[in-house]
């Protein structure tokens, strides 16, 4: 089982969307996937067609001192998701306190899944580094086989990546994936060229282009591949999945 960590440079980069679509694309290639939502917004499950009022998730189970293993769901294509669960603010603060004492709690969940019939474990750490479970990250990074840093091709991201010490360190052990790129936009196109030049060693070879089909597929509660098989984004995710499997195979060899 390979563990892929997905996190972002700044909020709204589309980590959850990428996680869901990458999981679907990997599943489509014949790999068995489980995606774990690590963000209190609990959005990932929606991508897998879980009903909006479902409150179950690993966080809720933890709160209720139950086993988190009962709160997983399986989508129609066979890919599985472990939602975060719905928590009130008070409960969330409490959970944060609990987790602060156990910095390898999430890592333990991952470890516990090792015996399962799974090929890929995708961890959606939607919130940026400074988010509420940032203390878990360290342990997670230790067990992850591969980590994807998702960013948009904009000036803010570029500045953070180039000059902020927090991110330059992050870039050391992750690959950078640009999401929602509009090549028809002159600024984004130029930034893309610059980033290609400067982050040559860590940039994923293909980007995810901006494509209206992605939010539409979500709105229709369908996988992108099923909703718009001819969309460029579907191809992008397919290529990304291929690249990921290839990277992980190389890493093990």
């Amino acid at each position: 089982m390979k563990i892929i960590l997905l996190h972002s440079v700044s909020g709204g980069s589309g980590v959850t969307t990428v996680t869901a679509n990458l999981s679907a694309a990997l599943q489509n290639l014949g790999h068995r996937c489980l995606a774990i939502d690590c963000a209190p917004e609990n959005v990932l499950a929606l991508h897998f067609g879980v009903a909006t009022d479902t409150i179950a998730g690993w966080a809720t189970s933890t709160r209720a001192s139950q086993s988190w293993s009962d709160s997983g769901f399986e989508a129609s294509d066979g890919s599985r998701v472990l939602p975060f669960g719905m928590l009130t603010e008070a409960a969330l603060t409490q959970l944060a306190d609990t987790l602060k004492k156990q910095p390898d709690y999430l890592a333990a969940i991952c470890q516990a899944l090792h015996g399962q019939p799974l090929d890929f474990l995708l961890l959606d750490l939607a919130s940026p580094i400074t988010g509420c479970f940032s203390n878990q990250l360290c342990a997670l990074q230790k067990i992850a086989d591969f980590s994807l840093l998702i960013a948009r091709a904009d000036t803010q991201t570029y500045r953070l990546l180039v000059s902020h010490p927090l991110y330059s360190q992050r870039l050391m052990d992750s690959k950078l994936l640009l999401n929602s790129v509009k090549t028809e936009n002159e600024l984004q196109k130029d930034l893309l060229l610059v980033m290609r030049h400067e982050f040559e060693h860590c940039l994923a070879p293909n980007v995810i282009h901006y494509d209206a089909s992605v939010p539409e597929a979500f709105a229709h509660l369908q996988a992108l591949k099923a909703y718009a098989p001819e969309s460029a984004a579907a191809l992008d995710f397919h290529l990304l999945a291929l690249w990921c499997t290839n990277q992980l195979r190389q890493a093990t060899e």
Partner: protein
């Protein structure tokens, strides 16, 4: 009225069998069903109704329900598939009788089965004999391998630039006395092989032995075995020529002798060309690009010349845009438009895109003079020359400059002229990108072969020259009309080297019309003949013997007009004039000529396989023969006559038409051959019996000539060409960006300067928009271009480019025509040559040619032809049809 009312109510009476009411309801239903099933495409006629009714009743009463697994009422349909019982025609009884006769008496004893058996037996024997041969030659293999290795070492030495001189001189000097002795022995032996007269049986055995050896060698891969095949072919052909010269001239009759000598000289010419061709193509060098230094600052400066005279601005624009995007440091590349047409629009365009514009005060010496004038106005170290319609790809200098930097004695790097539009041959024969065209052989093989001998010559465009040597020889040569070859000849005489890189890294427009194409070839032929006279490569200083031969063969090639005409008419001398121009018994002649032809054809098929299919060379030559015959002969005797004519490109042919003026000579030849055939048949029927074998041989030759002439005539029928911007078929994945924010995967099917044709999964995806953006990739970068949708149906979207800005146009040309890999796979797309298939293609082309000739002929002929065709079509309907062995549904 009542009928209409019923129909409106939805009650439609089935037109059904008339006498059905006589039967019980279930039987009625069954009969109705059968009756409907037998209804043909045209419905029932009156006789049909009666016939079918009678048949159905007959089948019902007298036949078993199923016969041989078929429902018996279907039996007629099954046994007589070409007869429609529901609507019988007048000829049907006869058809039925023929079919019945065939079914009863011929089919059961059909020869096909035994023929099939025989064929497979032959195949088996063939296979086994080949295996045996290969096995018996197994001991020969180490020798072959060592030869192969020696050869490879040799080429490596040649490729490693410092080579050429050494290689030339070393051949004799490096040989030890033992080798020299061996060489002498070989020469003696081969002389023996060639000159010893054999009896008929001995010759037969000799020929068979060589043929079997060749068959075995053909199965062995590698160049060394093809070299041995060449040797075999040379022995056979030279023996044939020797025999022809010494044994077959009719010294008793004057006309016979004269005509015989004429044919013999044509054959000698063909033999010489064959010999030199083998020499030239024995080992194509296939040079690979040389790495450039890492630091672009050390790269040299280049002047890029685009000479133009009367071409459209649009044609020139494309080349300039492509040149502007070429991968070379901007300050080290100067682009110059050399305008001999003195047009202000060109000057304004040059200013607009910021390239240099050179206009000279006079027009002396056409293109050569134009370039020479520009040489005085510029000063970069290297000069690249592109005809104004040749679009360089961006990698052009990256791939070519390496060699020039590595070897200071290298004065010229030539690359192939690749054409992205069909030439008149390809267009009129409709075989664009299916059969290698005329130029493929030269740029695919011959220039590469020349490269081994250091004899690659300049072709006027798509090449880089070093300025210093070029100025040393006085610039581009102006004495002949093929200034390019002459210039490189002079460079070679000064001891400079040339190189050929057989990568299609530029692309141009082919000539538009057949007359223009022929005009261009006439110019080349005349120019080559001129060089042969003015500056003969066989004599004079500075050249190595290999280079002399390469140049000589190139020039000889263009003299093919007269010999080709002789070959096309030679059998007529016997058939019509009753002269024995080959004075030998038919069987002996066959024993000599057939091996000569078979060996030559199979070796050429192996050497030229991917670049020229068997028999097509003769077609190309035959088209040009008449036209180049006169100018070359004139140029040989008076080399200073004649003017330069510009090749017109980028035109439109409004409608299909038959170019009678151009085709006149072929038609004359065809008529002569037809007369020969008729007279030959008359002679078979009524002539003396001892002549029959000779008549048959000559008739076969005539038929072959007619085939070639038919294909040549097919070229004369000009096909319509409406589009001014030729489209280039490709398959490039792109994405389309809609205004709604959707991005769709698509494929470019073809592109032109006007727009793209795209392929998408479903036209619904376009959401009825009329505009969209397309993202084309170049290397790692995406370029977005707006497109107007012209039509969209069945997953194909036709689009047109709106007016673009200059930068956008440069980008567009860069993403399409000038993309480094656009033309690379064209060559690979051609299959290997299979002589039989190639023959089929020639026969097909000849058929089309005669069809076109007859339908376009003056008044009564097309009508007669149409009548004959109609009658023949009618006759074929009487032909019995095969009946499938399994029952149909």
């Amino acid at each position: 009225m009542r009928e209409a009312l019923r129909r409106r109510r939805g009650i439609i009476t089935q037109r059904a069998i008339l006498i059905a009411p006589l039967f019980k309801p279930w039987l009625q239903n069954e009969l109705h069903h059968q009756y409907n099933c037998l209804k043909g495409a045209g419905g029932y006629s009156l006789t049909g109704k009666v016939l079918v009714t009678v048949w159905l009743l007959f089948a019902l009463t007298f036949l078993k329900p199923r016969i041989a697994g078929i429902e018996s009422w279907r039996l007629l349909q099954y046994l007589f598939p070409h007869i429609d019982l529901s609507r019988p025609r007048i000829g049907d009884p006869l058809r039925a009788v023929v079919q019945l006769f065939w079914l009863l008496f011929i089919r059961p004893y059909s020869a096909r089965r035994s023929a099939k058996g025989a064929a497979s037996a032959i195949r088996r024997v063939n296979k086994r004999s080949q295996k045996l041969l290969t096995l018996s030659l197994g001991w020969f293999k180490p020798l072959l391998d060592s030869g192969q290795q020696a050869n490879e070492r040799q080429t490596e030495a040649v490729v490693n630039a410092d080579l050429n001189n050494k290689f030339a001189a070393s051949f004799w000097h490096n040989m030890q006395w033992r080798d020299k002795l061996l060489m002498l022995l070989i020469v003696l032996l081969s002389l023996l092989c060639i000159t010893v007269p054999f009896s008929l049986e001995a010759q037969a055995i000799f020929v068979c032995a060589l043929y079997l050896m060749a068959r075995a060698l053909q199965r062995m891969p590698g160049r060394f075995s093809s070299m041995l095949l060449i040797v075999l072919s040379l022995v056979v052909s030279t023996r044939y020529i020797w025999w022809r010269t010494t044994n077959t001239l009719n010294w008793d009759s004057t006309t016979g002798l004269i005509l015989g000598l004429v044919l013999l000289s044509a054959e000698l010419y063909a033999w010489l060309v064959l010999l030199l061709g083998y020499f030239q193509n024995i080992w194509p060098l296939q040079r690979t690009p040389q790495q450039l230094p890492d630091d672009p600052e050390t790269w040299p400066t280049i002047d890029l010349f685009i000479p133009t005279y009367n071409e459209d601005l649009d044609v020139v624009k494309a080349t300039v845009y492509a040149s502007l995007g070429i991968d070379w440091p901007q300050h080290k590349l100067n682009i110059h438009i050399l305008d001999d047409g003195k047009r202000d629009s060109f000057r304004d365009f040059a200013a607009e895109v910021n390239v240099n514009y050179i206009r000279r005060p006079h027009n002396n010496h056409a293109k050569a003079g134009n370039i020479n004038y520009a040489l005085t106005k510029t000063n970069a170290e290297y000069v690249a020359i592109f005809d104004c319609d040749h679009i360089p790809t961006r990698a052009f200098f990256q791939l070519t400059m390496g060699w020039l930097l590595k070897d200071p004695q290298l004065a010229l790097v030539q690359t192939p002229h690749h054409f992205y539009s069909p030439d008149p041959f390809e267009r009129n024969l409709a075989n664009f990108r299916k059969i290698p065209n005329e130029g493929n052989l030269f740029y695919g093989l011959i220039q590469d072969g020349n490269d081994l001998w250091g004899g690659t010559f300049f072709c006027g465009s798509c090449a880089i020259l070093r300025r210093k040597p070029l100025e040393e020889v006085g610039g581009i040569a102006v004495e002949t009309v093929t200034e390019d070859a002459h210039t490189s000849l002079r460079l070679h005489r000064r001891g400079y080297r040339s190189a050929y890189l057989s990568a299609p890294i530029s692309a141009g427009l082919a000539t538009e019309t057949l007359s223009a194409h022929i005009g261009q070839r006439i110019r080349w032929a005349r120019g080559m003949a001129q060089i042969l006279r003015i500056d003969n490569p066989l004599t004079g200083r500075g050249l190595r013997w290999q280079q002399r031969l390469c140049y000589f063969n190139a020039m000889l090639h263009f003299l093919s007009g007269v010999p080709r005409l002789i070959f096309l008419t030679a059998p007529l001398a016997f058939l019509l004039l009753h002269t024995y121009i080959i004075y030998a018994p038919a069987l002996v002649l066959l024993m000599y000529v057939v091996p000569h032809m078979v060996h030559a054809a199979s070796v050429n098929s192996i050497l030229q396989g991917k670049y020229r299919y068997s028999f097509w060379g003769e077609v190309y030559e035959s088209v040009l023969a008449w036209y180049v015959a006169r100018p070359t002969t004139v140029a040989l005797f008076a080399p200073h006559k004649g003017t330069f004519n510009v090749t017109a490109k980028g035109g439109v042919i409004e409608r299909d038409y038959f170019d009678w003026v151009i085709s006149k000579p072929y038609i004359t030849l065809v008529l002569l051959n037809v007369a020969g055939v008729i007279w030959g048949i008359v002679r078979i029927v009524s002539g003396p019996s001892e002549e029959i074998s000779a008549v048959i041989i000559n008739l076969t030759w005539t038929f072959y000539n007619m085939l070639i002439l038919g294909a040549a005539a097919a070229v004369g029928g000009e096909a319509k060409q409406v589009r001014t911007a030729p489209r280039v078929e490709v398959s490039i994945p792109v994405s389309l960006i809609l205004h709604s924010g959707h991005r769709i995967q698509a494929k470019v099917r073809d592109f032109s300067f006007d727009g793209l044709r795209l392929e998408i999964a479903d036209c619904q995806l376009l959401q009825n928009q009329t505009e969209l953006n397309v993202a084309l990739r170049r290397a790692n970068e995406e370029f977005i271009f707006p497109l107007n949708i012209v039509y969209a149906s069945n997953g194909v979207v036709g689009t047109r480019l709106p007016p673009l800005s200059i930068q956008q146009t440069i980008d567009y040309v860069q993403c399409t025509f000038a993309k480094a890999d656009t033309w690379v796979n064209w060559k690979e797309a051609y299959d290997e040559d299979v002589p039989a298939i190639s023959m089929g293609q020639v026969i097909g082309a000849a058929g089309r040619g005669y069809n076109r000739l007859l339908t376009n002929a003056p008044k009564p002929i097309p009508q007669i032809y149409a009548g004959v065709v109609w009658m023949l079509r009618g006759l074929t309907t009487f032909q019995p049809r095969s009946v499938s062995t399994t029952a149909r549904n």
